[in-house]
């Protein structure tokens, strides 16, 4: 069973639909006991870091996530979920959970593309990823595959060997992070069509370490 962590940060039904579509069992939950018994954890999220972190602390889910990570359970962060498992976010000056060393930074305003047109913020829409290393999440993807992003901040891990893939938007920023039992994407795999489902399937098939 896969636990999809519910902390009042956005609509989680789409993540659950995608996992169910792939043939895996999942439950959207904030029950700490259920989370401690689940085989794998998905940590999604839409919204702002400050209020998300408050909800997590109030529900005791920050500790539950840390424990899942230290127990070696596969943990998958999505979008805000990825940012929240970093150490610190510049969004609302937020101390985060700290499973991944590094911080979360905003895109600079007034960025332009290579042809000089202005880049709007948030970075919203479909974009490519450029792998930095081999990783089980990337199995079965094609070079041209694109993923759906909606964000104004991006994760900047301290250790570059934690970065699986990057994406270009004014700068080249980390869009997939992976090491040990941590899997994390800045984009929404549950909204990224077939390549997104490939990534989720790769996670669902991963083994605890």
């Amino acid at each position: 069973m896969i636990a999809i962590i519910d902390y009042n940060a956005g609509n989680l039904t789409s993540v659950a639909h995608a996992i169910t579509h792939l043939g895996f069992k999942c439950k959207v939950t904030n029950d700490i006991r259920f989370i401690s018994e689940a085989e794998k954890i998905i940590f999604p999220g839409v919204g702002a870091a400050g209020s998300a972190m408050e909800s997590l602390k109030r529900l005791g889910l920050d500790q539950a996530l840390k424990k899942a990570f230290s127990d070696g359970k596969p943990v998958f962060g999505i979008c805000l979920g990825t940012q929240i498992i970093m150490q610190y976010s510049q969004e609302n000056d937020t101390e985060c959970i700290g499973i991944i060393d590094g911080s979360v930074k905003p895109f600079q305003k007034n960025m332009t593309s290579e042809n000089g047109s202005k880049l709007k913020i948030p970075h919203m829409g479909w974009n490519k990823i450029y792998p930095e290393k081999d990783h089980p999440l990337l199995l079965g993807l094609k070079n041209d595959d694109e993923f759906y992003f909606v964000h104004s901040f991006y994760p900047a891990p301290e250790h570059k060997e934690h970065v699986v893939a990057k994406t270009d938007y004014g700068i080249r920023f980390p869009s997939i992070i992976g090491f040990d039992n941590i899997f994390a994407t800045q984009f929404h795999p549950e909204k990224s069509g077939k390549p997104g489902l490939v990534i989720l399937n790769n996670f669902c098939r991963s083994k605890p370490c």
């Binding site: 609509n11 639909h17 995608a18 948030p122 974009n127 489902l197």
Partner: protein, 258 residues
Amino acid sequence: MLSKRIIPCLDVREGKTTKGIKFKNNVDIGDPVEMARFYYEEGADEIVFYDITASHEKRDIMLDVVKRVAETIFIPFSVGGGIRSVDDMRSVLLAGAEKISVNSAAVKNPEIISQGANAFGSQCVVLGMDVKHVGQKENIPSGYEIVINGGRRYMGIDALEWAIRAEEAGAGEICLNSIDADGMQEGYELKLTALISENVNIPVIASGGAGLPEHLADVLTKGKADAALIASMVHYGNYSINEIKSYLDLNGIRVRKT
């Protein structure tokens, strides 16, 4: 760099899709869930649903459609039409839509934009704008005026000023529909689209007038649009989304390949 998004738009009345020509003589063309699946498989980047159900009592039918669409396709989709309150927004988002769009409700009560953005985040809130060219006037300096009720009611609001206000209030995206071009299949209103897109910092989806792939190429380059809404040209089978994307790709416009 982002790919330009190609977005089929489905008008839904009492749970069935229609496509109006200039908002009149709607004809029934099918099941919205099946059409959404079809366009998802074909490579649509997003799907827009407009609920044009007149009677308030029958609006729950749309929530059921939204739920079934959310189980079927794994790309973003938005729902507009008849959303008048934060509670309306919540029920559509909980049913599984990524975004909700507000149009005339926001014209009548602009606070709904900031209320929605505060409750669910700007990325959920799309401002739909129906716009008519009226020529420059004292209260309409851009020459483009906001209209509602399918273009029948002029609101005395300048389209450019409204777009900027909506962005400040927290709209995450603008879906810009030219009433003059809508249903004509003679091309998007390029001047209007460029005017709005260049003066806001949120993405602009161009709507109204698509009949040929070159119309999309024009609005995504000269019109500076971030995305293009299409309806009749794909609903009636004149073009597939793949054909449109291949044309755009050949013309140097980056689109997502599936």
